[in-house]
C-alpha cells in the first residue's frame, strides 16, 4: 500500500506547501512508499531538481502525467490523471496541499471516486476509518473526524505541518499519458489579466502591516494609518467592518474571507479581534493592538497593546519614529 501525493511545482522546484503535504503523507504511510504526481505539457520537462527534492522528502517515484492541456492550470484534467494513476497504484490515501488549487483538485478527485474529502488537515492517522484533525472556521476551531472509505482523501493545511527531510535517494521518474475526455479538458486557464494597480507592497507579502477597523471612524481616518505604513515601508490593512462601510476596498481586508497575512509585525488599530479577523493574521510574528477598550478580545491574541485613542496614538508613533530617525 502506498500514499499518493499530488504535488504543485513552482518555477525551478516544488512548492513549499507540497513539501509540507509530503510530511503529513509520511505519517499516514507508516513506512509504505510515497508516490508523487506532477503534471506537465509534453513540450516541457520536469527538471532533475524536482525529482531530487522529492526524493529528499521521502518520495520513491515521481509519476509525470504528460498532456497538452497541462500547458495551463486545468483542475479536472489533473484530477482525472490522479484517478487514472490511483487505479494502477491502489494507494491507501491521496493527499494534496491545502492551497486553493490543491483543495480544488482533491475535491474533483473525491467527486469522481464518490469518497469523502477531509480538507485542511493538520494531523492524520491511517486506519479504517482514518482519523484526522482538520481546520474549521479558517483555523479558529479544530475538528477531529473519521474518514470512511478508501483511499483516504485529504489536503494538508498550509504552514501548520513542518516540511522535514526524509532522504529516500533521488525519486525515480515515470512518465505516462493520461486518457482525458473533452469534458476533462474543458475547464482550464485561457487568459491571464495582469494586475496593473499593484505597485506598492502587497498585503500578503508585507513585512509590516498597519491596519484599522471601525475605530478609524471614517475613510479619512485612514490617513494616519497610511502615513505610519509608509514610514515603515509596509502595507495598509483593514477589518470587514471597514470594507462593509465602503471605506476601503476588499483587497485591503485581512481575515478569513479576506487576505491572509504573515508580517514580522501587525499593528491593528481600532479592531476588536473577531475570530474571523484573527484567522487572517495567525501568521504574524508579532501583533501590536491599539485600542481604547482594555477588554477588547484582540488583547487575548496580541503580544503588545497600547490602550488609547488611535487618532492620538498613531500620529504620536509616526512623530516619534521621525524623531528617532533624525538623531
Amino acid at each position: 500500500m502506498s500514499v499518493l501525493v499530488v504535488v504543485e511545482r513552482e518555477p525551478g522546484g516544488v512548492d513549499e506547501l507540497s513539501l509540507q503535504a509530503l510530511a503529513l503523507a509520511r505519517t499516514l504511510a507508516q513506512g509504505a512508499s510515497i508516490e508523487a504526481l506532477a503534471v506537465t505539457p509534453p513540450s516541457d520537462t520536469v527538471s532533475q531538481g524536482v525529482a531530487a527534492t522529492l526524493g529528499e522528502h521521502g518520495v520513491s517515484t515521481l509519476h509525470v502525467a504528460e498532456h497538452a492541456v497541462f500547458g495551463s492550470y486545468a483542475p479536472t484534467a489533473v484530477a482525472q490523471a490522479a484517478v487514472e494513476l490511483a487505479e494502477r497504484l491502489q494507494p491507501a490515501a491521496i493527499v494534496g496541499a491545502g492551497t486553493e488549487r490543491g483543495n480544488e483538485v482533491l475535491a474533483h478527485i473525491a467527486a469522481r471516486l464518490d469518497l469523502p474529502l477531509a480538507a485542511n488537515c493538520i494531523a492524520a492517522a491511517s486506519g479504517d476509518p482514518a482519523r484526522v484533525t482538520r481546520l474549521r472556521w479558517g483555523g479558529s476551531l479544530l475538528e477531529e473526524a473519521d474518514v470512511h472509505g478508501a483511499p483516504t482523501l485529504l489536503t494538508v493545511a498550509p504552514h501548520l505541518v513542518t516540511a522535514e527531510r526524509a532522504p529516500a535517494g533521488e525519486a525515480a521518474v515515470e512518465h505516462f499519458a493520461p486518457t482525458l475526455s473533452e469534458a476533462d479538458q474543458l475547464v482550464r486557464v485561457t487568459d491571464r489579466a495582469e494586475d496593473d494597480t499593484a505597485g506598492g507592497v502587497s498585503l500578503a507579502d508585507a513585512k509590516v502591516v498597519v491596519s484599522s477597523g471601525r475605530g478609524a471612524g471614517s475613510p479619512e481616518g485612514f490617513g494616519i494609518i497610511e502615513e505610519l505604513a509608509d514610514l515603515l515601508g509596509g502595507a495598509v490593512g483593514c477589518s470587514r467592518a471597514v470594507t462593509m462601510a465602503g471605506w476601503r476596498p476588499h483587497t485591503d481586508q485581512v481575515g478569513q474571507t479576506g487576505t491572509k497575512i504573515a508580517p514580522d509585525i501587525y499593528i491593528a488599530c481600532g479592531i476588536s479581534g473577531a475570530t474571523q479577523h484573527m484567522a487572517g493574521c495567525k501568521g504574524a510574528k508579532t501583533i501590536l493592538a491599539v485600542n481604547t477598550d482594555p477588554q477588547a478580545p484582540i488583547l487575548a491574541s496580541a503580544d503588545y497593546a497600547v490602550i488609547g485613542d488611535l487618532h492620538e496614538v498613531v500620529p504620536a508613533i509616526s512623530a516619534e519614529l521621525r524623531k528617532a530617525r533624525q538623531t
Binding site: E104, A119, H148, V189, K207, L232, A300
Partner: protein
Amino acid sequence: MNVLVCVKRVPMTGGKIVLTADEQAIATQHLGFTISPHEECGVEEAVRIVEQHGGESVVLTLGPPEAEEQLRDAMALGMDRAIHLVIGDDEDWDAQATATAILDAIEAEHAAGVDFDLIFFGNESADSGGYQVGIRVAHALERPIATGLKGVAVEAGRVRCEQEVPGGRDVFDLPLPAVVTVKEGLNFPRYPSVPGRMRAQKKPIASSSPTAAPARLEKVRLVSPPGERKEAEILGHGPDAAPKVVELLQRIGVA
C-alpha cells in the same frame, strides 16, 4: 437566465468561540446568524445577472428551520424565491450528503420545468471549510465549474470567470450551463431596502425535509486550538506610549 445560489446559515461568533459541553457544536444561545460573505456576494451577483438578462433567481439553503431568516435576507436583496431543505437544529451534514440533497432539489426543479443556467456556491463554507460541495454538484450534473472567483461575467451563452492569483487574475471561459464558486470581493453587495424587506416576506419558500445519508466524513468532536490565548503586554496608555512602540519596532528590526 435562471440562476440558483446555495447559501449556509452560520453563527456570528465574535471575539471567542465557545463550544457546547458535548463538544459537538458551537454554543450559539447568545449569537446572531448570517450567511457567509462569500455567499452574500453570490446572491448579489445573481440578482444583478437576472436584472440584466431577465429570468429567475432562486436561493437555496440546507439548514434548520431558523435558516428561513437567511432565505428572507437573500430575497430582501432581490432573489425571487427560495428552496429550504429543512434539517434538524443540531444536525451537521457532511459535504457528500449536502451535495446529494442539493442535487435532488435541482432534479425536482428540472421535473417542474425549471433548469438553472448558472449555479453559485461560496468557495468554502465559513464554518466547515470543506471546499467541495459545489464541485460535487457540478460533477454529478456533468457541468463545468470554476472556483474561488472574484469576477463573473455572463455573455452570449458563456461565463467569463476570474480567479485572483499572485500578480493578477487567471481567466476561465465556460459554456453555460455552468457552476461557479465565489469569494468575498466579487462585488459590493447592496444593502437591503425597507420595501425590499417587505417584499421578501411575501416571496415563496418551498420547504422539504431530505433524509441524511450516514456521514462519511464523521465529526468526532470539536476542539479549540491549543495555546492561543495570551495576555498582551501593555506598552502604555495614549500618545505617551509612542517611545515604547518605537523601541519595539527597532527591536524587531522594522523601524
